[in-house]
């Protein structure tokens, strides 16, 4: 079921008379209960698209529809009931506890004085529970780690009780365990609560694993699809084309393009193969079968020219001497 759709949406910036179009004629659909990751190189307009869809920025042309209403015709208050945001803006409020921050999510529902009903309190409690921060409910927000802070902001968005949540780079500044945790959390939330969750990220491998669908942004436009389809049809390779690196379809990561001028052949143990190839590529060796030297990988060592080496360093040193 589509909750948000764009119709020939053109995004960018307008200053007085001049318009800078970042992306023209976008036709995108966001569905309930799915996690969509917006990825693409810097400067293709990820933040601009997110800000435009969130109503923080005006579209240059075209329409954004939420259900059947046009976003532009909705009041601030109505928008706040439909879209909850998690932004990169730093939140720094003196004395605010986790509960206080999550309570901001109930802002559109409370009366003019900001008084809470029982329903408001219940929603806040549940939101905190969903991000597993119940124990830190009364802790000062300023004392939390970056990962916990991000979870608090997600709880705020949950408390807002909207069909759509949008997050701008929610995994930025986080270490790997926290990045994975946040992505898993968002994936679970979208499926459990039936909310449509849209996030922008630079974490390609995480997005490929967690996203139900991907919006792949390049200067040529936005391609939408299930992550694996976009890998198979070469969209990733086209989008991230460069002479310095390539999108490695085998593992969903980027690999660096080294100038590989020297040849070597490698056989043997499979588990060590991956790392050996990496080291060789970095040192400038291309692996081909008609090479002059052959490296055999054993369980605990490498054999080259009938000499045995126990570390990669020694192996590379020997290769350098041989090739010189």
């Amino acid at each position: 079921m589509s909750v948000l759709s764009t119709h020939n949406l053109s995004i960018g910036y307008s200053k007085k008379r001049s318009k800078t179009i970042v992306q023209p004629a976008l036709n995108l659909i966001l569905q309930a209960g799915e996690l969509v990751c917006l990825i693409g190189p810097n400067g293709t307009g990820k933040s601009t698209l997110l800000r435009t869809l969130a109503g923080l920025q005006k579209p240059l042309d075209g329409k954004i529809k939420i259900d059947d209403d046009e976003l532009e015709n909705l009041s601030h208050h109505e928008k706040a009931m439909l879209i909850a945001l998690v932004l990169t803006d730093r939140v720094d409020i003196d004395n605010a506890t986790v509960y206080d921050i999550v309570s901001f999510g109930r802002h559109p529902y409370s009366n003019w004085r900001g008084s809470f009903s029982e329903e408001d309190e219940k929603q806040v409690r549940e939101a905190i529970e969903m991000v597993h921060l119940t124990q830190k409910r009364d802790d000062c927000f300023c004392e939390l780690s970056d990962g916990e802070r991000q979870r608090v902001m997600i709880a705020k968005a949950l408390a807002q009780d909207t069909p759509i949540i949008m997050l701008d780079e929610p995994t930025a500044h986080l270490d790997l365990p926290n990045r994975i945790e946040i992505m898993l959390l968002l994936h679970r939330l979208s499926h459990k609560t039936g909310k449509a969750i849209l996030l922008s990220t630079h974490e390609l491998d995480l997005a490929l694993q967690a996203a139900d669908r991907i919006w792949l942004m390049s200067n040529a436009g936005v391609e939408c699809g299930v992550p694996e389809d976009l890998v198979f049809n070469g969209s990733f390779n086209r989008t991230f084309e460069s002479k310095y690196y390539f999108f490695n379809e085998a593992n969903g990561n980027f690999s660096m393009n080294y100038p590989m001028t020297r040849k070597v052949w490698v056989t043997g143990d499979k588990t060590r193969m991956y790392w050996t190839l990496r080291a060789l590529a970095r040192a400038g060796y291309i692996v081909v079968s008609d090479a002059e030297f052959t490296i055999t990988i054993n369980q605990n060592s490498w054999i080259l020219n009938e000499k045995e080496f126990s570390t990669v360093k020694d192996l590379l040193d020997e290769l350098a001497i041989l090739s010189a």
Partner: protein, 331 residues
């Protein structure tokens, strides 16, 4: 938490009331509590003492309460709007704008009709217009730049421009007019007579009322403008209303009492420290009580020496250490 706040509010209210009575009692002539009660109930014996109490000390004490409350509330709104702990109407040039308005009225009076110069409305209008003008310029610029520090510099620059124009006016004015203006800059709570109070009181109350009306939106602004927008706060309208309220509060008070430094920046921090919250539902009444108390204390202190000290000096002596404390605490 609820009961702690209740006790704090109760104590603060009691403190404010005690200080109010102390402010009425103290001065070059001591007036006892029983004399006060007698005067207020209409059974006063001594004509001079009741005259001093009713027509001098009472309006002065009420002015202290109004000035303390208004400047603190204006400071709180500025700190929230700019998300800067050091923001206050004075730093952002609002008071300089008010000074410019008053300078024009006092020193350029030769070019204005006499009726206008002598009316309280003219003074308050000039100050409010001057204050609101500078604040509008600052907010106008704030739409273009995001950085709070740059915005602060912009406010200071507008203040400097206003100050320079005041200097130019002084250069062309006669000594009497200059003295009138300089006396105004010293700050004085006793200039407000009952006639002026009819202007000052509603202006302050409207400004404070607006702040209470905006309290939920002010809370939303704590998260930053983008988040606030996401929560349904109409940002442009809110900014505008905050500007108007601050212009009324800071401009109105400054017009009648002269600039009173540091109250606006220091009190919100004291209130946050006491109540350990950033929520405006608590902070608004808390700043009002703290601000009123502080200015009452300042007024009592300023009367201890035989020669009355300007209120601006006393409030700075109190406020400057608080700013230092904030900076050291924040590192």
């Amino acid at each position: 938490m609820q009961s702690r706040n209740f006790i704090l509010f109760f104590s603060l209210s009691f403190l404010t009331m005690s200080l109010f009575l102390a402010d009425l009692a103290w001065g070059s002539i001591h007036i006892s509590l029983s004399e006060m009660i007698a005067t207020f109930t209409g059974n006063g014996q001594d004509g001079i003492n009741s005259e001093i109490l009713l027509n001098f000390r009472l309006p002065k004490a009420i002015t202290a309460v109004l000035a303390g409350a208004s400047l603190s509330v204006a400071g709180l709104m500025m700190q929230t709007l700019f998300r800067n702990p050091l923001a206050d109407p004075y730093i952002l040039g609002v008071s300089s704008g008010a000074s410019l308005g008053v300078a024009l009225i006092t020193m350029a009076s030769a070019f204005l009709p006499v009726v206008l110069v002598n009316s309280g409305w003219a003074m308050i209008l000039a100050a409010v217009i001057g204050a609101a003008l500078v604040l509008l310029l600052v907010v106008g610029v704030s739409f273009r730049i995001q950085n709070a520090v740059s915005l602060l510099i912009v406010g200071i620059m507008f203040g400097t421009i206003a100050g320079s124009i005041v200097s130019v006016l002084q250069n062309f004015s006669n000594p009497d007019a200059i003295k009138l203006f300089v006396m105004w800059t010293f700050g004085s709570l006793s200039a407000v007579t009952w006639t002026y109070m009819q202007v000052l009181l509603p202006v302050s109350l409207i400004g404070i009322g607006m702040a209470f009306f905006l309290q939920k939106r002010l809370d939303g602004l704590l998260l930053g403008e983008n988040y606030a927008r996401g929560l349904g706060v109409p940002i442009i309208q809110t900014r505008f209303l905050i500007v108007i309220a601050t212009g009324l509060l800071a401009g109105g008070i400054t017009a009648f009492t002269g600039p009173i430094a540091f109250v606006g920046v220091a009190i919100p921090h004291i209130a946050r420290g006491i109540f350990r919250t950033s929520g405006h539902k608590i902070l608004l009444p808390a700043t009002i009580l703290c601000g009123a108390s502080l200015l009452l204390v300042c007024d009592i202190i300023s009367q201890i020496p035989t020669y009355t000290l300007p209120i601006n000096t006393i409030s700075s002596l109190f406020g400057a250490p608080v700013i230092l404390w904030i900076i050291l605490k924040r590192k």
